[in-house]
Structures are given as C-alpha cells and as structure tokens.
C-alpha cells in the first residue's frame, strides 16, 4: 500500500490549489485524477477571467491552468493521471484504478475536489445525437478542436450557456438562438452582450418542446412559457439546427463524500445536497476536507481559493504550519474569496455558503 500525508482527489483548480499549499508548507501530497490531463475544466476556459489581480483577472482560464501546473511541478507534487478513484474507506484509504489494476493509497488527510456534473434535461428527442451538455461542446471545441455541429441552439442563460455560445461562434459554428425558461438572463450581462453583438437572439420564458430528426438532430421546436411556467399554445417555433446544447446548471459530484459518511445539508443555491463543512473546508468527518464545486457550485476562481484554504488547513492540522502562520494565510485567502462573493451575483452564493457553514458548526456545538 502506498502512503502519503495528503491525498487530493481531483486535479482541477481546487485540487491543484490545495496540493500547492500543502507542498509549499513542506507536506507530502498526492493528487489523483481520472483524466489523462490535469487541470480539470480550466483548459477549456479560453475566456479571460474576472476578479482582481490577486484572482488573476484578465488572464485566460487555460493560462491559469498552465500556471497552476507549473507551480505543482516546481513544488514536486505527485499527480497521478488516468486514475479514477472508485472508493474511499473510513481509515482514509483511497482506492483507485490505474493501468488495469487497483491501488490503495493511505493518507492522513483527504481533500475531495471532485467537481460537478452538468444537469440533464429530458424532452422528446433528447437522446438524439446532437443533443449534448454545453460543457461537452466546450470540451470538443476548445480541447479537441472539433466542431459539434454547424448550427446550435443553446438552452440556458447562465454564464456557462452564454460563454459556450460565444465560444462556439469563435470556433466557427452559428448559434441560432439562446433560450431561457426564466424571465431574466441568469449570467453576467457582459457575456450576454457579446453574443447579442454577434446577432444571437435571447428568448426569455422559452423552453424546448422537442428535438426532431431521424438519426440526429435536424431541427428543434421551442415554445414560450407563461407566468406559471406552462407552454403557451400556438407559440411554437421550429429552428433548423443540428446541435442542441444544454446548460441548465451543475450538480456537485458528492459520491465519495457520501461513502465517507459525511453529513450533508440541502442548499438549493449551491446545487442541492452538499457536504457540510466548516471555515477550514473540513467536513463532519475529521481529516476529510472538500473544495471547489463539490462544496457548492461556483466558479474556478472561488474553487482555487477554497482549495488553498483546504490545503492550508491540512498543513496546519499536520503540524507543518504553526497556528499563527496558518491563521495569517487563511485570513488572506478568505478575504480574496469574499471579494468574489459580493455584488448581485455573488451575494446569494455568499449567503448560501454562510448557511452551510452555520449548519455544520451547529452540529459541532
């Protein structure tokens, strides 16, 4: 059995940031990821990030990914790829598969940074080839350089839907329209403005009725919704598209936290059931930390800060950092994180997070 001080599951922005903090404090850390490349979703983020200089604002996501990787390499962090973690055991043993066989890794602390999965949408024709998650389309164009189709309908006006619609056009596809069931645009106005300038109509209070086609999507029928979210008869419209991208939110990937017996709380604003965690990102199971989308769906910038927080807390718990030094580091990280959770878009997430942390502290008292 292999041994390490800290096992980090997931080499996305949260996991890499956590590993960097542990390694910087002199700890032995092993990052395990099921993908062939580290970086999680960062390498398909070709747009410039928001925030301030400390959040690397203005830098494109994939460049941030490259910086994180360079840092993990410099610090000598072990990153195991092509290694899906399929089990966690109560004694903090991680079971993963690599090269066709299972390997066990015993850790003193575990950081679960497994991320989130795209929410599905079921409608007649939703199993036709050509209907896909917006994140999948983004992977195709920005990682594999393959256009999923020539003409696209985007469903969902959150930042994912808006950004992927824009990037599909940059990749050479035509976006016929973006539809949104709610009565207002969910994501940032500046992202919406980019696709409007490119001539893409945004239909609010609209949903998809069915996708049509024999062997793949050939067209899609959309319909308006009334104030009770019911389809308005006669408002149907057929759009000739070969691709339908679904961007209707994300759900935290919590299987491993359930396996460890972490207590959960239901916080709709964070994507549903999420593991309770304290201000150090530690769950109700001592020695098990979480960071990033698994602790509530946000964005890469906050995921990295949560990772740094979890990594610093692990290092402190292992005695690699004294309490005073750890507190200083964590205070700076929390300030940066809180700055991202302000304004009309961030407020809700900040409140949801406070509620989650409050719930887990209650349990301890």
């Amino acid at each position: 059995m292999k041994m390490t001080q800290v096992a980090v599951i997931g080499a996305g922005p949260a996991g890499l940031a956590a590993a960097i903090e542990v390694a910087r404090a002199g700890g032995l850390v092993t990052v395990i990821d099921e993908n062939a490349r580290p970086g999680g979703q960062l390498f398909k983020q070709i747009h410039k990030f928001f925030g301030s200089r400390e959040h690397r604002a203005g830098v494109r996501g994939f460049h941030i990914g490259e910086q994180l990787l360079a840092e993990t390499e410099r610090l000598g962090v072990e990153v195991l790829l092509d290694s899906p973690v399929y089990a966690l055991f109560p004694d903090r043993t991680v079971g993963y598969v690599h090269g066709g066989r299972e390997i066990f890794l015993k850790a003193e602390k575990i950081v679960i940074a497994a991320g989130a999965a795209e929410n599905p949408l079921a409608f007649p024709g939703s199993t036709l080839p050509g209907v896909m998650g917006a994140g999948a389309a983004q992977t195709m164009i920005n990682v594999h350089r393959v256009l999923p189709g020539k003409k696209v309908l985007m469903i969902g006006s959150g930042n994912v839907g808006l950004i992927v619609a824009y990037q599909l056009m940059q990749a050479g596809a035509d976006v016929a329209a973006l539809i949104e069931a709610a009565t207002q645009i969910g994501g940032y106005g500046v992202h919406a403005a980019k696709i409007r300038r490119a001539g893409v109509p945004i239909h609010l209070s609209h949903t998809v009725k069915r996708a049509l086609g024999k062997d793949h999507v050939e067209s899609v029928e959309i319909v308006a919704l009334d104030s009770h979210w019911q389809p308005v008869a006669g408002s149907e419209k057929i759009l000739g598209v070969d691709t339908v991208c679904v961007a209707v939110g994300l759900t935290p990937l919590t299987e491993l936290a359930w396996l460890m017996g972490c207590e959960f709380a239901f916080v709709p604003g964070l994507g549903g059931h999420v593991p309770k965690h304290d201000l150090n990102m530690e769950t109700t199971v001592p020695g098990v930390f979480i960071a990033g989308d698994i602790s509530g769906v946000e964005e890469a910038s906050t995921a990295m800060e949560e990772g740094r927080l979890a990594g610093t807390a692990c290092a402190e718990a292992l005695g690699l950092l004294d309490g005073q030094k750890a507190l200083e580091l964590k205070t700076v990280i929390r300030e940066r994180m809180n700055a991202l959770r302000t304004g009309p878009f961030g407020e809700g997430r900040r409140r949801a997070k406070e509620c989650l942390i409050g719930l887990s502290l209650e349990g301890q008292a």
Binding site: Y86, G95, V97, R101, E102, F104, P120, W258
Partner: protein, 91 residues
C-alpha cells in the same frame, strides 16, 4: 412501450421513460431508490449520473426536495472493470 415522437427517456442507459417513472411514483415510490427498484432507472453503465437529478426533480413535485436523497453509494462509484478491482493491490 411504444416509441413515438413524444417519448421522453429519463434513464437512457436502461431506456426508462418518463411515463414508467411516473407509474412507479403512482405505485408508491417516494425515493430515488424506490424508483430504481421498480424501474431499473439508474442501474445502467453511468450508475444514475444522468437520471438521478431528473428523478429527484420528478419526486420533488410531491415531496420536499431536501428529503430526496440519492440512493446509497457503494464502491465502485466509478465505472471500472471488475477484473481491475478483482486483482487486488499487489504493491
């Protein structure tokens, strides 16, 4: 069931339709596990990753979503081949 243009698949791995899930709920299923036992939804290759959320949404029409928990997770929680984990850790 007859396939037509209106058929909605909730669990695509096991080809379970929306109607079949609705029937399971009418038959008394109140949890994701209850739906799974009646219809096989969530027992396919992806182990419910896609349909879990959809079924939770359907159950939420009559129950508080806070009480709709995923069915119990057991290893393996990832798609792995049985021979991979049957061999054991040789290190």
């Amino acid at each position: 069931m007859a396939e037509n243009r209106e058929t909605i698949y909730i669990c695509r791995c096991e080809e379970v339709t929306r109607e079949e899930i609705e029937q399971a709920i009418r038959d008394g299923a109140t949890t994701i596990a209850g739906v799974k036992k009646r219809t096989h939804a969530g027992m396919g290759l992806c182990q419910g990753r896609t349909c879990r959320k959809l079924i939770a949404n359907m159950l939420a029409c009559s129950r508080d979503p806070a009480n709709i928990l995923p069915s119990t997770f057991r290893p393996p929680v990832r798609t792995v081949r049985i021979d991979e984990i049957a061999q054991g850790d040789e290190e």
